[in-house]
C-alpha cells in the first residue's frame, strides 16, 4: 500500500509520524516513502513545524558536561588541535598573502589544462588549491572542484610524495574553527566526496593542508601527524 494518490491517508500518516505514534515497520516504511515522495516529505515537515512549538514547553534540563565532551571527542576534539593547529593558525594568514604561493598557484592554473585533461569533465573547476612543499617551494598537490559539485579531484603532481604504510590526509582549514578532513590521498589521483557542494564546503576555506597520518587517516578527527604541504584555496570564477 502506498499513499501517493491518497491525500487523506498521506496527511494522516505524516501527522502520526511527526507526533510519534507511527511505530515499528510502519515508521520505517514511511521513511522510505518520504525519500521517493516529495509531497509526503513536505507534509511531514509541515507537521513537525506545527508540533515543534509544543517542545518549548518542556522544562529545560541542564545537560551534563560529559555530553559535550563526548560530542567533541567524537568529532575530533580541540585537544588534538594544539600543536598542529597552532602551527597552521600561525601561518594561516601567510598562506593567503604569500605572493610566492599565489604565483605558484597561478602558474599551475595556467599550465594545468595543457598538461592533463581537467579532472572533473565538462565543467571548469571553480575552486582550486595548490599545495606546496615549504622546503622546495614546489607545488606537489592540486585539488579542484566545480562550484555545485560534491566531488573534489585531487592529484599528486609528484607521485614520490606518497608514503608506503601511511596516509596523506587532506584538510580544509576554514577561516574560523578547526581543520576538517576532506579524505585521503592514497594514490596519485583521488576523487574525494565533500560533505556538501564545493560552494558550501570550500566557500570559506582559504587554505588546504596535507598531514601525514596512520594508514586510513587520523583516528581523532583532527590532524595528528606533521603538516607536510599546504597552500591557498581560491575560487577563480
Amino acid at each position: 500500500m502506498n499513499c501517493k494518490n491518497k491525500p487523506e491517508l498521506r496527511e494522516r500518516l505524516a501527522a502520526e509520524y511527526a507526533l510519534g505514534t507511527l511505530r515499528g515497520r510502519a515508521r520505517d516504511r514511511l521513511r522510505r516513502w518520504m525519500r521517493e515522495d516529495a509531497a509526503l516529505a513536505r507534509a511531514v515537515g509541515e507537521w513537525e513545524a506545527r508540533l515543534a512549538p509544543l517542545a518549548q514547553e518542556v522544562e529545560p534540563v541542564r545537560a551534563p558536561a560529559r555530553i559535550w565532551r563526548e560530542v567533541e571527542a567524537r568529532l575530533g576534539s580541540g585537544a588534538a588541535r594544539s600543536g598542529w593547529w597552532d602551527r597552521v593558525a600561525f601561518w594561516r594568514p601567510l598562506g593567503i598573502l604569500a605572493s610566492g604561493a599565489m604565483a605558484a598557484l597561478l602558474a599551475v592554473v595556467a599550465l594545468l589544462p595543457a598538461a592533463r585533461p581537467p579532472p572533473v569533465e565538462s565543467m571548469p573547476a571553480a575552486y582550486i588549491a595548490v599545495l606546496s612543499d615549504p622546503r622546495t617551494q614546489r607545488p606537489v598537490v592540486v585539488a579542484t572542484a566545480a562550484r555545485r559539485d560534491t566531488r573534489l579531484a585531487v592529484r599528486a603532481l609528484d607521485p614520490a610524495i606518497l608514503v608506503a604504510g601511511k596516509s596523506l590526509e587532506l584538510w580544509a582549514v576554514p577561516r574560523q574553527g578547526g581543520p576538517v578532513s576532506l579524505g585521503m590521498l592514497d594514490a596519485e589521483q583521488a576523487t574525494l566526496t565533500l560533505a556538501g557542494s564545493a560552494d558550501r564546503t570550500l566557500g570559506d576555506v582559504p587554505l588546504l593542508a596535507v598531514s601525514l597520518e596512520p594508514r586510513g587517516g587520523s583516528r581523532t578527527g583532527a590532524p595528528t601527524g606533521p603538516v607536510l604541504y599546504s597552500g591557498p584555496c581560491v575560487k577563480y570564477w
Partner: protein
C-alpha cells in the same frame, strides 16, 4: 496547503541567531557549534529526558543528535524549518528509534510514566496552558476535547505509542487511535484558521 508560518526564522530573533549559528556550522565553524550547543542543549536534553525517562539513555541520544546536527548542518534549509524545529525533530525521532529497541519496551521502571498519565501529564500540559498566548498550537490544543488533548500530549511529550496510550489511558486501542486522529485533524484546521486571522 500552505506551510505553517508560526516560528519562522525572520520573525524570531532567537531563531535567527540559531539559524546563523547553523549556517556557520555548515561552514565547519566549531566555535559556532559550541555556541549552538550552549543555546539549545538544555531544551533538547529536557525533550529527550522526558521521552526516554533515563538519564543515561538521554545522554547517549543527545550525543548522537549533536554529532548528527554537526554532520547535517550543511543540509539545513532555513526556509523549510525553524532551527529548533529541525533539531527537535532530530532528537524526537532518535528517541523514538531508541525506544524501539526490543529490550527497552519496559521503560517505565519507576512508575513515573504511569504517574504522569494518571495526573494528566501535569508538567507540559500546565505549561501549555500558560503558553496559549505565545503559541497558536498551544491555543489550538487547549481547544480540543480533554481526552484528545491528553492523548496527543502524552504521545508528543512522553513518546507513547498507540498501544501505550491505550494501556495508560485504560481505553481500547481503537478508541485511542480515533482520539489521536481526530485531535490532529482538529489541530490542523484550528492552526489554519489562526493563520488566516
Amino acid at each position: 496547503m500552505a506551510p505553517p508560518t508560526q516560528e519562522t526564522v525572520s520573525a524570531d530573533p532567537q531563531a535567527a541567531q540559531l539559524a546563523a549559528l547553523l549556517a556557520a556550522c555548515a561552514n565547519r565553524d566549531r566555535a559556532a557549534f559550541g555556541r549552538l550547543y550552549q543555546a539549545s542543549s538544555a531544551k533538547l536534553y529536557g525533550v529527550a529526558l522526558r521521552i526516554l525517562r533515563r538519564e543515561d539513555w538521554a545522554e547517549e541520544v543527545l550525543q548522537e543528535c549533536y554529532v548528527s546536527v554537526w554532520t547535517h548542518a550543511p543540509d539545513y534549509r532555513p526556509g523549510l524549518a525553524a532551527p529548533m524545529t529541525w533539531m527537535t525533530s532530530i532528537v524526537r525521532n532518535r528517541c523514538l528509534d531508541w525506544l524501539r529497541r526490543p529490550r527497552l519496551e519496559v521503560a517505565d521502571e519507576d512508575g513515573a510514566l504511569t504517574e504522569a498519565a494518571e495526573s494528566d501529564s501535569p508538567g507540559p500540559l500546565e505549561a501549555l496552558e500558560r503558553a496559549k498566548d505565545r503559541h497558536a498550537v498551544a491555543r489550538c490544543l487547549a481547544g480540543l476535547e480533554a481526552r484528545q488533548r491528553q492523548a496527543i500530549a502524552l504521545a508528543f511529550y512522553d513518546g507513547l505509542s498507540h498501544a501505550e496510550l491505550a494501556s495508560h489511558m485504560r481505553e481500547p486501542l481503537g478508541t485511542v487511535k480515533t482520539w489521536v486522529r481526530r485531535g490532529l485533524l482538529k489541530l490542523k484546521s484550528c492552526l489554519e484558521l489562526q493563520e488566516q486571522a
